[in-house]
Amino acid sequence: MRFDRRWLAPVGLLVLVFVVSLVLLTWAERRYTEFLETLQGIQFSVELADFEQTAPQQARLRWVVTVTIPNPKTPASLELLDWRVRSADERTHLGYYTTGETQIALASVTEIPVEAVIEGPNFEKLQRLQEASETTLLFVGSARVVFQLPRGRESKIIPVVGVFTLQHE
């Protein structure tokens, strides 16, 4: 089989482009797969850390939101946008709360303390729930997770839902 010497340069260039493109694609695919795995594996849990009545018509609730990412490979940060507190049957709404724009770098396990002061009509609703022994409440929020990618950022809004129980004082 004869090989024309004039073909050496174009064949060499084609083989070089073939190898370079496949290496770049493999690299990009790996980063993409890691991002998808991180996104699918991200989990939130909400636990009530503290509940105290701070004034006659005011109560303060503190939670710890735990974000778990198994084997994190894509750097990411999280911003807890806002959350609502509701009764377990979702009939009673106990207010809407936000922390402002605080971004927290995510590790495999990240604990984020959040706090809400329930007062006025919402406090009265909370008291009525306690009197009726309906102490199981819902924490319904949303978090913006921002992933740092090789060529830009990708942000996803993820719902954060937790159930917690108020202890009788």
Partner: protein, 122 residues
């Protein structure tokens, strides 16, 4: 050109063009280590090198179509495999990327082949 040589050329050039086109697709662009412009340059270089390996422009045009076909399949596989769970339910999510990628491969490969044929004195 002999069939086996043609097949090998179409496969190597098509896979290279498809892999490069995947790097500039909306799905993978943010994850690519290189800018989209380099992906276009790589596709053009595929056309340029292939253009020096054909004898007539008509042969180059047929090769560009073969490269586009193999490139589109490579591009589809590159986008489908990591997203198969989503795409199985909504294939249109990657179809527009494959369509535009195939068009890009055809146009840039053809330009590369034309430039190569001009340099070859045709």
């Amino acid at each position: 050109m002999k069939f086996l040589r043609w097949l090998a050329l179409a496969l190597v050039a098509g896979i290279a063009a498809g892999a490069s086109a995947a790097l500039q697709s909306g799905e993978l662009l943010k994850f690519s280590p290189v800018p989209a412009l380099l992906a276009y340059v790589l596709i053009f270089l595929v056309g340029l090198s292939a253009g020096f390996l054909v004898k007539k422009f008509q042969e180059g045009l047929r090769l560009a179509l073969s490269v586009t076909l193999v490139g589109a399949i490579t591009l589809w596989a590159a986008l489908y495999l990591p997203n198969r769970e989503v795409v199985a339910a909504a294939p249109e999510l990657i179809l527009s990327s494959v369509w535009w990628g195939a068009l890009t491969i055809f146009v840039l490969t053809l330009i590369g082949i034309i430039v190569a044929r001009i340099f070859s004195g045709e």
